[in-house]
C-alpha cells in the first residue's frame, strides 16, 4: 500500500447506517482501513464521531476513494503542515527533530503530501523544495530545513499479509525467533519466498559473517552467487579474508576447511591471504590476473555482484577493498539498497545490525544465527520485519542451496 489518508465523519452515523456504508465503500474499493477512533454520542441526539485511516495501492485509487466517500460526509482530516527548522550547523540537527522509522513516510508541506525519498530508521527529514530527503545526522548541512515534531508527518504501516497460498505467503513471518520451529519447513519456506521475490525482479542482499567460511559453507555460498541468487554482498574484512584464505591455502583461520585440522603455521594463513590481495591491489585484480580462482568473493567479481566490505577495530590488514571509514562504509551500503527486497543475514552480528539499521521495513529479512541474542538484538533495534531462525548456519545454507539450486 503506497497511499494513505485519514478521514473523519461526524453525525448520526450509526442509526443512519452512514458509518456502515462508509466502511463498505472502503472495503469494496479494495482499500485497507484502520479505525483510529470512534466516539459514540452519549445521548441519541449527540452526534457520533469516527476517524478512519485509509490505505490504497496507488495515489489514484486514494483520490477516487476520497471522492467516493465525500458525499457521505467522510473528509480528509486537515493535518497541519510539518514544522521546519534550519539545522544550526553541519552535522547538528535542530532540537526536537523528527526521528525516522524504517516505514514509508510522507510529509505535509504547504498543504500537500510528499513521499520521503527512502525509508531508513534513526535519520532526520530534510525538506528541499518539493523533495523530502531521509538524511543521516552526520550528512545534514547547516541551514537545511529539518522536520520538527510529528505534526504533518504520516507513517504508513506495513501491509498485513493477505493470503496464505504456499509460496506466496509472508504469513509465517511473525517477527518471532524460531528456535522451536521445525527448521526444514522454514528453510523451504524461505527458499520459496526468495524464488518468488527474485522472479518478480527483486534483489537479494546477503550479509555474511566469517563463521560461514569456518563451518564450510563457502562452496554453497559461492554456488548461490554463481547461479545468480545473490545480487549484493555486505560483509567485513574477516569474511572476505577467510574466503580468500580458503581459496588460496585451503584453510580458514589456519584450520583446513576439508580436514578440520590445523595446518602447520596456519595461524598466519589469513595474514598471508590479506598480504596477497594487497599485493594484487584489490580482489578484482586478483580475479582478473587469475590468482584468485574460487570462493565467494571470486564468484561475486565474476557475476558482477557488487560487494561492500566494511571494516572494524579488530581487523587485520585489512584487505584493500575494505572501507575503514565507517561513515563512508554506511554510505556505500546505502548506495546498494535500490531494488533489494529480501535480505539474508547469516552468522553476522555487527554487519547484520548495521544493515538492519539501513533497511526499509518492507525488505523481507531472514536472520540466521546459532546465537539467539543476535536475532533478538536486531528486532529490539527496530527491525521488526526480521524473521529470526536460530540454527546452525552451515545446515541452513546447505539446505537453502539445495532448495534453490538442485
Amino acid at each position: 500500500m503506497t497511499a494513505s489518508a485519514i478521514v473523519q465523519v461526524e453525525g448520526h452515523i450509526i442509526d443512519s447506517l452512514i458509518l456502515a456504508k462508509i466502511l463498505d465503500v472502503i472495503v469494496e474499493s479494495g482499500a485497507d482501513y484502520r479505525m483510529l477512533d470512534f466516539e459514540v454520542g452519549r445521548s441519541h441526539t449527540d452526534p457520533s464521531h469516527a476517524r478512519i485511516e485509509l490505505h490504497t495501492q496507488t495515489h489514484e485509487a486514494l483520490a477516487q476513494l476520497l471522492e467516493d466517500l465525500h458525499p457521505h460526509g467522510a473528509h480528509p482530516v486537515d493535518e497541519p503542515d510539518a514544522r521546519l527548522e534550519a539545522a544550526p550547523s553541519d552535522g547538528v540537527l535542530p532540537v526536537g527533530f523528527y526521528s525516522t522509522t524504517n516505514l514509508p513516510t510522507s510529509v505535509k508541506i504547504e498543504g500537500r503530501w510528499y513521499d520521503v525519498d527512502r525509508d531508513e530508521m534513526d535519520c532526520a527529514l530534510v525538506v528541499d523544495g518539493d523533495a523530502v530527503r531521509n538524511t543521516p545526522m552526520s550528512k545534514v548541512r547547516r541551514g537545511e530545513r529539518v522536520v520538527i515534531g510529528v505534526a504533518g508527518v504520516k507513517v504508513i504501516p506495513l501491509e498485513k499479509p493477505r493470503e496464505v497460498t504456499p509460496g506466496e505467503s509472508f504469513a509465517f513471518m511473525t517477527s518471532e525467533i524460531s528456535s522451536e520451529k521445525p527448521k526444514g519447513l522454514l528453510v523451504a519456506e524461505v527458499a520459496r519466498r526468495i524464488q518468488h521475490i527474485k522472479a518478480e525482479g527483486g534483489r537479494l542482499l546477503l550479509v555474511a559473517g566469517p563463521a560461514l567460511i569456518h563451518t564450510g559453507s563457502g562452496p554453497d555460498l559461492a554456488r548461490l552467487v554463481r547461479e545468480g541468487w545473490v545480487d549484493v554482498l555486505f560483509a567485513g574484512n574477516g569474511f572476505a579474508t577467510h574466503d580468500i584464505e580458503s581459496a588460496l591455502l585451503g584453510t580458514s583461520l589456519g584450520i583446513s576447511v576439508k580436514e578440520g585440522v590445523p595446518d602447520e603455521g596456519g595461524h598466519a594463513n589469513h595474514l598471508r591471504a590479506i598480504n596477497e590481495v594487497r599485493r594484487w591491489g584489490s580482489i578484482r585484480s586478483g580475479v582478473e590476473s587469475g590468482e584468485l580462482h574460487a570462493g565467494v568473493m571470486y564468484e561475486c567479481v565474476r557475476a558482477a555482484a557488487p560487494f561492500v566490505l566494511a571494516g572494524s577495530l579488530r581487523d587485520d590488514g585489512p584487505l584493500p577493498d575494505v572501507i575503514t571509514d565507517v561513515m563512508a562504509a554506511q554510505d556505500a551500503m546505502r548506495g546498494q539498497l535500490d531494488g533489494v527486497r529480501v535480505a539474508l543475514m547469516l552468522a553476522s552480528t555487527l554487519h547484520a545490525i548495521a544493515t538492519g539499521n539501513l533497511l526499509p521495513a518492507s525488505v523481507e529479512t531472514y536472520c540466521v544465527d546459532i546465537n539467539q541474542a543476535v536475532v533478538t538484538k536486531l528486532a529490539d533495534r527496530g527491525s521488526h520485519q526480521v524473521l529470526g531462525i536460530v540454527t546452525d548456519v552451515g545446515l541452513f545454507v546447505s539446505q537453502l542451496t539445495s532448495h534453490l539450486c538442485d
Partner: protein
C-alpha cells in the same frame, strides 16, 4: 405560501423541468388559489409571502428552510437559479419573529424539502440537493437526531418526494428512491410504512400535506385511498407545478414544526 404569479418553467434544474413545456400562468394561479382554499378548509391558517419577479420557484416555499418552533434554519440552495430566493425568506422570517440559525460551514441544505420531522427525529435526504454535512450541522444546531437517507433517483431529488409522515406510526414511502442503507434505516424507524407503487410515487403522492385528519394530496389512487381510509383524503390537482417538479407539499412550508 407564496403566490404563483411569477411561477414558470424558466430553467431546468431537475428531470421534470423542460422549458419546452411551459406552465400556463392562469392555470397555475388557479391551482394555487384552490390549494390555499383546500388547506383553509382543512383547518389550516395560511400566511403569505410576497412573490418576486425572476424567482419562479419561490412558489415552492418548502425549500425556504426548516422551521423548528421559534427558530428558522434558512436554506442554502445547490443551484444558483434558486439562490436569489434566500434573502427574501430570511427577511420574512426575521421580521415575523423567528430567530435565524445558520448551519455551521454553510452546507447546501434545501429546507423542509429535505428534512421532515417524524416522531422525535428528523428524516433527512442527502446527495442530490442537500449535503450530508447539513444533517450533522442541523443535529447540532437543533439538538435533534437526524436520520440520513441517501437519495439515488434524480426524479426524487428531495426527501419530501419520497417520504410523508402521517402520524406516529405511519408514513408514505418511496423506498426505490433511497439506497439500500436508507431503506433499512426507514424499516427500523417507521413502524408501519406504506410503500407507494411506482405510478403513485411518480404522481408525487408522497408530496402530501397532513392537516389534522385531513390529507391533501396532488393525486390519489384507489389503492392508496383504501389504505388511508381513516383520513379525509382531499385531492388538489397541481399539474402545472408538476411541470417544475413540485407537488402540494412543495408549495407549502409548515410553520408549526418542532418539538412540542
Amino acid at each position: 405560501m407564496c403566490p404563483a404569479q411569477h411561477f414558470g418553467v424558466l430553467y431546468e434544474i431537475n428531470p421534470w423541468m423542460s422549458r419546452s413545456v411551459p406552465a400556463d400562468p392562469s392555470h397555475s394561479m388557479a391551482q394555487w388559489e384552490a390549494l390555499v382554499e383546500t388547506l383553509r378548509g382543512a383547518g389550516a391558517a395560511v400566511e403569505v409571502l410576497d412573490p418576486v419577479e425572476g424567482l419562479p420557484d419561490m412558489v415552492f416555499t418548502a425549500n425556504a428552510g426548516l422551521v423548528w418552533r421559534e427558530r428558522f434554519v434558512p436554506s442554502r440552495f445547490t443551484h444558483p437559479e434558486r439562490a436569489g430566493e434566500e434573502p427574501h425568506y430570511r427577511r420574512w422570517f426575521r421580521s415575523n419573529g423567528w430567530s435565524l440559525v445558520d448551519l455551521h460551514n454553510k452546507p447546501h441544505f434545501e429546507g423542509a424539502g429535505d428534512a421532515l420531522p417524524f416522531r422525535d427525529r428528523i428524516v433527512a435526504g442527502y446527495r442530490i440537493r442537500s449535503e450530508f454535512e447539513a444533517h450533522t450541522a442541523l443535529a447540532k444546531a437543533l439538538d435533534v437526531e437526524v436520520l440520513s437517507l441517501e437519495l439515488v433517483d434524480q426524479r426524487f431529488y428531495h426527501v419530501d418526494l419520497t417520504f410523508c409522515p402521517l402520524d406516529e406510526r405511519r408514513a408514505l414511502c418511496v423506498p426505490q428512491a433511497w439506497d439500500a442503507y436508507g431503506r433499512d434505516v426507514i424499516k427500523a424507524a417507521v413502524p408501519e410504512p406504506i410503500d407507494l407503487e411506482p405510478d403513485e410515487a411518480l404522481a408525487f403522492c408522497a408530496n402530501s400535506i397532513v392537516v389534522g385528519d385531513v390529507i391533501v394530496m396532488p393525486s390519489c389512487s384507489d389503492r392508496l385511498r383504501r389504505l388511508l381510509d381513516d383520513f379525509d383524503v382531499r385531492v388538489c390537482p397541481v399539474d402545472e407545478f408538476l411541470k417544475a417538479g413540485g407537488g402540494v407539499r412543495c408549495l407549502t412550508l409548515a410553520l408549526d414544526m418542532g418539538p412540542s
